[in-house]
């Protein structure tokens, strides 16, 4: 399957008074897997629907391989769409669902008729070819044995595969998926996640994927576009997002459930002052405003009380989760509700109300000056 | 104090029933009158009575249509009034023999006739004049009448010549048969008589109304709307509706009533109208009711009924100067029916339980003639066989 690049140029969209998308530009390379990541209501689905042609942008334009498709009807854009709730036709079998896009495109109304259809001139070969493609697709998705069932008789994961099959069967230029995993339970979600990755590797179709789960985005994508309030805040590879979120809001979103944030005055000489202590932070260079020091639970450790550079804390609660444990601590200097992730074994020696100290990994903590983005070295906000 | 519940047919008769009751209670303060909701026709009034009889919720007084009185008697809802008449000389009180006969079934008196009418011709004098006729002297034979009517239809502008209404019962069909000197059944009521020569002439004439006289095969309400709108030359109906007709027409055109043309010299006509009957079995109430129906059918009552409708009085005393004497002089449209009284005969009511349905059968067959779906002969034959099937087997 030949891949195609997608070009979204300055797309804006408002519904009534609300600007849902503001000047979104995004280029997806041929074969690339790009995820739109953002909180609920940020406009992800709207953008996807604009690309599919189900919605029209107020301004801006959509191109595939440098050819504008703004005036092309959805069915002719060569895009496939997997809906969050799959949108399978409940009255058709899995087979018929998968065949639907082919049948609607390649057969005339007469040829679609139940019995006679097949016997019309020219119809037989098309019917055979459709049948072949449906079965091939089904096999690829390992649902060959379920083809006679209706969606109501399929499990969530099976339905999801049928939906993917319906999208896949047309050999689309572009794959659009709107939270296809959101309705599955946790275990199945992770399983289907790797199925999607495998398919993408196998087929190599350019894919635009929507989710609001950062783990899903990280696990699947070549690049992730983080959208907040209708704007792209950051567009980068997952590792880069992990290392360098562009501002506190993005950082918070990407570090769910826990991001530790401490208020600090203006940093002086690469150090910020917290509770009387001066903590070195790589990131402060050039910052001239007070701001916030933020770090992930895994980028700090607990050390013996009194260790230089470590902040004295009180342990409040310990949450074990296998290898690791989350330790909830309050800073003796005031801030409460900080979380540190340490190895489970280490945690077993801790007791609530114990006094200990928190050592922040200065190489990985971020400093966000108030009212602005971090000072990122040479990185475009969106490619 | 006694309260009498009174039930009557035709809701628009309220215009005289209520004033009569008022006048009566003024004269008899010890009796009060209340009315039940009027039935839409004589037939339905009787049906309602039968249903109420079942539930023992009969009214005390009813004005029953001449044609359906027999049904009430058959169902045992009526008793003869001999317990009340006693020694009274009804003739002296202004009721003629002929009139009293209208209140009898099988020779027994069941009530006092209250209003009578005969079919008359309502003429749109303007249209008649346009067609070259004179509404005050319309033809007295059917041929000329139909010719004139045909001319009116030919005037154009959506006019129709005439409308001979069939109504909701068989009254007007009886009229046609009698117009040719016939009867519905023989005197002994053992055999159908309307299939004889008179009946045949009647149905043929009815067909000619449509083929030559410019009558449209439309329903009665539509035709009446046409007439009052000034689009119809002649309209045959009971004289009882003169008042309502005048009201609906206003001054849109000049309305005249005329006597019907006659098919044969000894033509008769059925008398429409109603009999005041007493349904209550309570002796005390019967006395009060008797007082009431005598009042209603007496000169005072009649002088209220006549001007408000067009009915003829059933009591000769009502014709004196104090009551209606001068009224007729001033209102010739009202007098037409009175002029026809010599020919008036009782409205024949069918033996057995199926009177209502016989009426429907007759009406339907006549409609078939009107619509041209049946030839008169065929329709008459069908009518005969169907009616025969509905008559009591024992006869």
């Amino acid at each position: 399957m030949a891949s195609h690049g997608l070009d979204i140029q300055s797309v804006s969209k408002r519904f009534g008074d609300v600007e849902v998308l503001s000047d979104i530009s995004l280029s997806v390379r041929a074969g690339e897997f790009v995820t739109l990541l953002g909180p609920s209501g940020c406009g992800k689905s709207t953008l996807l629907r604009i690309v599919a042609g189900l919605e029209h942008p107020d301004t801006g334009s959509i191109g595939i391989d440098d050819r504008s498709i703004d005036h092309v009807a959805p069915k002719d854009r060569g895009v496939a769409f997997v809906f969050q709730n799959y949108a399978l036709y409940p009255h058709l079998t899995a087979y018929q669902n998968i065949a639907a896009p082919l049948v609607m495109r390649e057969l005339t109304a007469m040829q679609r008729l139940p019995f006679i259809g097949r016997r019309l001139p020219g119809a037989a070969s098309v019917h055979v070819s459709i049948d072949e493609r449906v079965r091939k697709t089904a096999d690829k998705l390992q649902i060959g044995s379920l083809l006679h069932r209706r969606p109501g008789e399929l499990s969530g994961g099976q339905r999801q595969r049928v939906a993917v099959g319906r999208a896949l069967v047309r050999a689309p230029q572009l794959f659009l998926m709107d939270e296809p995993l959101a309705n599955l339970d946790a275990g199945l979600r992770i399983h289907m996640r790797s199925e999607i990755a495998r398919l993408h590797q196998e087929i190599g179709a350019t894919t635009l994927f929507v989710t609001h789960d950062q783990a899903e985005a990280a696990a699947l994508s070549d690049r992730v576009a983080v959208i907040f309030g209708g704007r792209i805040r950051q567009f980068a590879a997952p590792q880069e997002l992990y290392r360098d979120p562009v501002d506190l809001e993005v950082a918070r979103f990407l570090t769910q459930p826990f991001l530790n944030v401490l208020e600090t005055p203006v940093p002086i000489a690469g150090r910020v002052t917290i509770g009387g202590l001066h903590v070195a932070v790589r990131d402060t260079e050039g910052a001239a405003k007070p701001g916030k020091l933020a770090f992930r639970p895994e980028h700090a450790t607990l050390v013996a009380a009194g260790k230089p550079g470590a902040l004295p804390v009180i342990v409040k609660r310990i949450e074990h989760s296998g290898t690791d444990a989350h330790v909830f601590v309050d800073l003796q200097a005031g801030a409460t509700g900080l979380v540190v992730r340490i190895a489970s074994e280490e945690a077993s020696s801790l007791r609530p109300d114990a006094a200990t100290a928190l050592l922040i990994d200065s190489e990985r903590a971020w400093f966000f000056p108030n009212g602005g983005a971090r000072h990122l070295v040479g990185r475009a906000r969106a490619a | 104090e006694t309260n009498l519940e009174v039930f009557y047919a035709w809701p628009d008769h309220k215009v005289f029933h209520e004033p009569i009751a008022e006048a009566f209670t003024k004269a008899n303060p010890d009796v009060s009158i209340s009315f039940r909701a009027a039935a839409p026709s004589y037939d339905e009034a009787v049906q309602t009575l039968i249903r109420q009889g079942m539930a023992s919720q009969l009214p005390d007084v009813h004005y029953v249509g001449f044609n359906v009185m027999r049904t009430l008697v058959n169902r045992g809802l009526l008793d003869p009034i001999y317990d009340l008449v006693g020694e009274e000389d009804m003739i002296a009180e202004g009721y003629t023999k002929q009139v009293l006969a209208l209140g009898q079934v099988d020779g027994k008196q069941y009530g006092l006739p209250f209003a009578m009418s005969t079919p008359v011709v309502y003429c749109n004098a303007d249209l008649v004049a346009q067609a070259g006729g004179d509404a005050d002297h319309i033809p007295t034979n059917w041929n000329d009448f139909i010719a004139l009517s045909g001319k009116i239809a030919a005037l154009g502008d959506g006019t129709a010549g005439m409308y001979y209404e069939l109504g909701v019962d068989d009254w007007t069909t009886q009229n046609l048969v009698r117009n040719f000197g016939g009867q519905m059944m023989n005197d002994a009521e053992t055999e159908i008589a309307f299939d004889g020569p008179a009946g045949q002439a009647a149905v043929k004439l009815f067909e000619r109304f449509h083929t030559e006289g410019g009558q449209l095969p439309i329903d009665q309400r539509a035709a009446r709307q046409m007439f009052t709108a000034g689009k119809l030359g002649f309209y045959f109906a009971s004289a009882g509706g003169v008042r309502g007709m005048e009201k609906d027409i206003g001054d849109r055109f000049r309305l005249r009533t005329a006597q019907q043309p006659l098919g044969v010299e000894n033509a008769t006509m059925p008398t429409g109208g109603m009999v005041a009957v007493i349904l209550t079995k309570d002796p005390e109430k019967r006395v009060a009711a008797w007082k009431f129906i005598k009042f209603a059918t007496g000169p005072e009552g009649q002088s209220i009924v006549v001007p408000n409708t067009g009915y003829m009085p059933t009591n000769t005393l009502a014709l004196d100067k104090d009551h209606l004497g001068t009224f007729y002089e001033k209102n010739p449209n009202w007098f037409t029916s009175v002029k026809q009284t010599p020919r008036a005969r009782p409205w024949f009511s069918w033996p057995g339980d199926n009177g209502v349905e016989i009426g429907v059968v007759i009406r339907d067959e006549m409609t078939a003639i009107a619509n041209g779906t049946k030839k008169p002969d065929a329709a008459l034959a069908d009518m005969t066989s169907q009616v025969r099937a509905l008559l009591p087997k024992t006869n």
């Binding site: - | 439309i218 329903d219 539509a222 619509n371």
Partner: protein, 311 residues
């Protein structure tokens, strides 16, 4: 949708054996009892009695009642009046049911898709449902007046012979059918609108991408199958209502002219309440009900084969 899904049944009842279970079962009995009693007293009992009466010669107002076996039914077989009313009813149903369903569906489809004037259309089409027929019948009567009615005025302007509508035995039933359709469109439209509003938008979008983005294709792929349960409900209701046509007949034509508009229920009314032949009327009622029941069963069966669940 509440009334429109066939499988909106209760999940399952939990079998119990304890005191609490008995309490709940008792509560169920008590709560359902008034309805059950009234149902028996006001609907099923009387209907059953009708069945009994249909084997008798009962007549309203006469106290003697005799068992006459099947003779009422036999009489029905060769009663020309009854045959006519069957024919009229069938004709009426055959006209009214498909027309009012199709037009109701068409109206619903179009109204649903419009953004402007939606409320206006919905109200306009629903008005006849709320109409006091006795009053509106007079309006119809004058509009359809054989000589100076609005309908004929319009017809004559376009050069068509004036029709006698309600006055002619050839057209009266059709005129009543038109009024029947007029009355039922709105009812069906509302039900279809309710059904349409439950079709997920994504299905239409999926269809648009699959190549069925408008017209008949989309209708056949999504709308029609998704409306199947509603359509069944609407059809059953419409059939029952069309079979039960009574008021227009009673008010406008009284079965005439020449019995051309006597329908079964009107015959039932006439026989029962005008001619007082309760036994015969009951036999008509029983046959009528048997027929409606049969038809509904056939319909339900037929659409059972295409049933699917949305779960």
């Amino acid at each position: 949708m509440a009334i429109l899904t066939e499988n909106a049944g209760p999940s399952y009842f939990r079998p119990r054996s304890s005191a609490a279970a008995r309490e709940r079962s008792l509560a169920g009995t008590v709560l359902a009892l008034p309805a059950a009693l009234l149902l028996a007293a006001l609907l099923l009992g009387p209907s059953g009695l009708v069945l009994v009466l249909s084997f008798s010669d009962a007549s309203l107002g006469l106290s003697s009642v005799h068992f006459v076996g099947l003779s009422n039914y036999l009489r029905m077989l060769d009663d020309p009046g009854f045959a006519i009313s069957i024919r009229n009813t069938a004709l009426y149903v055959v006209i009214v049911v498909p027309l009012s369903i199709l037009l109701g569906l068409g109206a619903a489809l179009q109204i649903e898709r419009r953004t402007a004037l939606k409320g206006f259309y919905r109200t306009a089409y629903f008005l006849p449902v709320a109409a006091t027929l006795v009053a509106l019948a007079t309006a119809w009567e004058v509009i359809l007046h054989p000589t100076f009615g609005f309908a004929n005025a319009v017809l004559s302007r376009v050069g068509v012979e004036p029709a006698r509508f309600l006055s002619s035995p050839d057209s009266a039933l059709y005129a009543l059918a038109v009024i029947g359709v007029w009355q039922l469109i709105g009812f069906n439209m509302i039900l279809f609108l309710a059904g349409l509003s439950t079709i997920p938008r994504e299905l239409y979008e999926a269809a648009a991408i699959d190549g069925a983005d408008r017209g008949l294709n989309r209708f056949l792929l999504v709308t029609w199958p998704m409306l199947a349960p509603v359509t069944l409900f609407v059809t059953v209701m419409t059939v029952i209502r069309a079979f039960s046509v009574f008021e227009t007949v009673a008010v406008l034509t009284q079965g005439g002219p020449m019995k051309s508009t006597t329908v079964v229920l009107y015959t039932l009314y006439e026989e029962g309440f005008r001619y007082f032949r309760v036994g015969y009327a009951s036999a008509i009622a029983v046959s009528f009900f048997a027929f409606v029941l049969l038809l509904s069963l056939v319909q339900t069966r037929a659409s059972d084969r295409n049933r699917w669940s949305t779960r």
